[in-house]
């Protein structure tokens, strides 16, 4: 080999030629997929990736964290800016496999819709975004800047913020927004608002895009996390009463058997029973082009035989659209020759599903509840319920006023 030969002539000190010590060397073949563990927004995450998968793709496609945008994919535009081990970096220029044990923070970690970080609030106040495409990158770059140098002067901002391009705003409003935060927090930027270990994004949603987002093989078999309801106002509150033919005792016999109860819920399925009234389950919802597959944790916290009431906490995520947390109470009372079924739910939504709006979300939820009680009634009376299908495009459009469906479609087209 000629290079080696040439090198032989030029070296001054000799080192011993040695075989590769395999132990400490990580090696991944081009077509091999390996698990990579890191922390995203304070939560442990695992992605299964081949070497060429970038961090930006891993975040978006494997973890459903689509807040990190992709523009050029070669380092120029800054759309993909995230924090890696505390410093802002281009996610499109990093390989996911390089980052095991790294700490990553994305725009999702910065704040929540109901609890925005001051930087996010300031962007809103100063109209520092129009289309919003660059906004996650701008926010993460600005966060990095003010985190290291909180007292930075306004004059320095244009240069320091030049790493992320914006095609809409002309930058002045972005500089105004960041300058105000620098002025109001001269002694240190407030911490991110959504990096705590509470409100866990179920680890089960970590994995491949659609297949493994709900795949049983991805389920964390150790159990479910403690579910805590947010303090804020729920996104939707639902209270539904329905008269059914079955008697309370018949209904209760189904309700006290979680397996059978789950079969009454359209599109739902129990995946794992951990005992102790804790379960992993999934629900599929299809609304026109929208297909959501929620996988999450269910904890039945109360079963009252005397009042025929069950209360459950649910925490579920769809890989790309967001999280749902809900407290659901179902109670049955004797009424007339049959029973009255009452359901009350307080539902908190974050992520893109929150954009569906309250009315549509409650229409969908009410429709699901309607199908649920019908199925519950049938099963309680010993009929095998007509197959409960996930709320489907056709069924939904029949029940929900067309105008609402159009509004939803517009939102999806405009914002996706």
């Amino acid at each position: 080999m000629s290079t080696l030969h040439r090198l032989k002539q030029t070296v001054s000190t000799r080192i011993q030629q040695r075989p590769v010590t395999q132990a400490a060397t990580s090696r991944i073949a081009p077509d091999e997929t390996v698990p990579v563990n890191f922390t995203v927004n304070g939560r442990p995450a695992t992605v299964h990736v081949a070497p060429r998968v970038t961090l930006s793709d891993a975040l978006r496609d494997h973890l459903g964290l689509t807040g990190t945008h992709i523009g050029c994919e070669h380092g120029v535009c800054g759309m993909c800016t995230v924090l890696v081990d505390g410093d802002a970096a281009r996610a499109c220029l990093l390989l996911a496999c390089q980052l095991d044990s790294a700490e990553i923070m994305t725009v999702e970690g910065l704040g929540k819709p109901e609890d925005l970080h001051p930087l996010q609030a300031s962007f809103g106040k100063h109209h520092a975004l129009q289309c919003g495409f660059c906004t996650p990158g701008q926010l993460m770059s600005a966060y990095d800047l003010l985190d290291k140098d909180p007292g930075i002067g306004r004059d320095e901002l244009p240069e320091q913020l030049s790493g992320v391009l914006c095609r809409c705003t002309g930058y002045r409003n972005i500089v105004d927004a960041v300058a105000e935060v620098a002025e109001t927090h001269p002694n240190g930027l407030p911490a991110p608002r959504n990096c705590a270990a509470t409100e866990l994004l179920p680890r089960a949603s970590v994995g491949g895009p659609s297949r493994s987002a709900v795949g049983v093989d991805e389920v964390d078999l150790e159990g479910i996390a403690e579910i805590r309801m947010p303090q804020a106002e729920p996104t939707v509150s639902i209270a539904v009463h329905q008269q059914v033919r079955a008697e309370p005792q018949q209904l209760w016999s189904v309700m006290s058997d979680t397996e059978r109860l789950a079969r009454c819920l359209p599109g739902a399925e129990l995946v794992v029973d951990f005992g102790n009234d804790r379960y992993k389950g999934r629900v599929q919802v299809a609304l026109g082009p929208v297909k959501l597959a929620f996988l999450g944790d269910i904890h039945v916290v109360e079963r009252d035989e005397t009042t025929h009431t069950i209360r459950a906490l649910v925490q579920a995520a769809d890989a790309s659209s967001g999280n749902v947390q809900a407290e659901v109470v179902v109670a049955v009372d004797a009424a007339g020759s049959g029973s009255a079924v009452r359901a009350d739910a307080r539902v908190h939504m974050t992520g893109r599903i929150a954009q569906f709006g309250r009315s549509l979300a409650s229409d969908v939820s009410k429709d699901m509840f309607g199908q649920f009680t019908a199925a519950l009634d049938a099963m309680a009376r010993g009929e095998e319920p007509a197959e409960v299908k996930p709320p489907s495009a056709l069924a939904m459009t029949l029940r929900i006023p067309a105008a609402r469906v159009r509004a939803l479609l517009n939102r999806i087209r405009g914002r996706n």
Binding site: T3, Q17, R18, T21, R27, G75, C92, S141, G163
Partner: protein
Amino acid sequence: MKPAPFGYVRPAEVGDAVAELVRADQEGGGKVLAGGQSLMPVLAMRLGRPATLVDITRIAELQQVQVADGELRIGAAVRQRRIERDFGGVVPLLSRALPWIGHREIRSRGTVCGSLAHADPSSELPAVATCLGATLDVIGPYGKRSVPAAEFFTAAMTTVLAPVELVASVRVPLPSSGSGFGFAEVARRHGDFALAGVAVSVTSREGVPRSAVVTAFGVSDKPQRRDLTRQVVAAVNAVGPAPEALTSQLVAATEELADEVVTTEGDSSGSPAYRRRLISALGARELARAFNSSMERSTR
């Protein structure tokens, strides 16, 4: 744009990294992966398709920065932003040049040695290393060698490195008393590669210039280092040290310099004539400033 498939190895020791490079060289070609800030775009655009990337960033030995024996020694895994943040002012010319490299987000990952190995002719660090007479420690299958920066860069994006070698560290001399520095460049936007730039180092004693070096970049296939001591001495004798007068007096010398070093063809961003103007204007100004700061540093 997604890169074509490649294999990935992350050795924990320098010797293993070299062994991996040798192995990769025999099996379809390998590339060192440091900060990835130049390599990843090349892969994404499929301008390069190495079969294997050898990630050197977790090799503890290469993560070291040391100030010893009159030098700042920077290991190959050390990122630009770390030098900027933790070693600011240790080598003043380096501190002046670093903020010009891309953006914070780029410097968070990009390494000092990676920029040297990449040898982009418009890059700041090759010019700084050349101007200051830095030394690169190169390691390969048959041992180590030390290469002065002046000999390291051979052409655009080409160095004396063999595919089985890596830069283990760069050693940059610390400033002596009575030294002053200048740095300037012009780019279309902040963070873009320079159309033209200069790195300047001057030493003086008791108001008399002892040495004056200008390194021009972005104007030819590699950094161009020229000794202008004689011209600076003559200009100081003629008009004294006041920066403005000295700058005007030096322009004739830097125009001559510019005529010699600007060899790139023009492009849409600037003609050769424009680049010559930049080199002569920036060169004269930075020489005058560097001389003045060298006097301050020697009288202190």
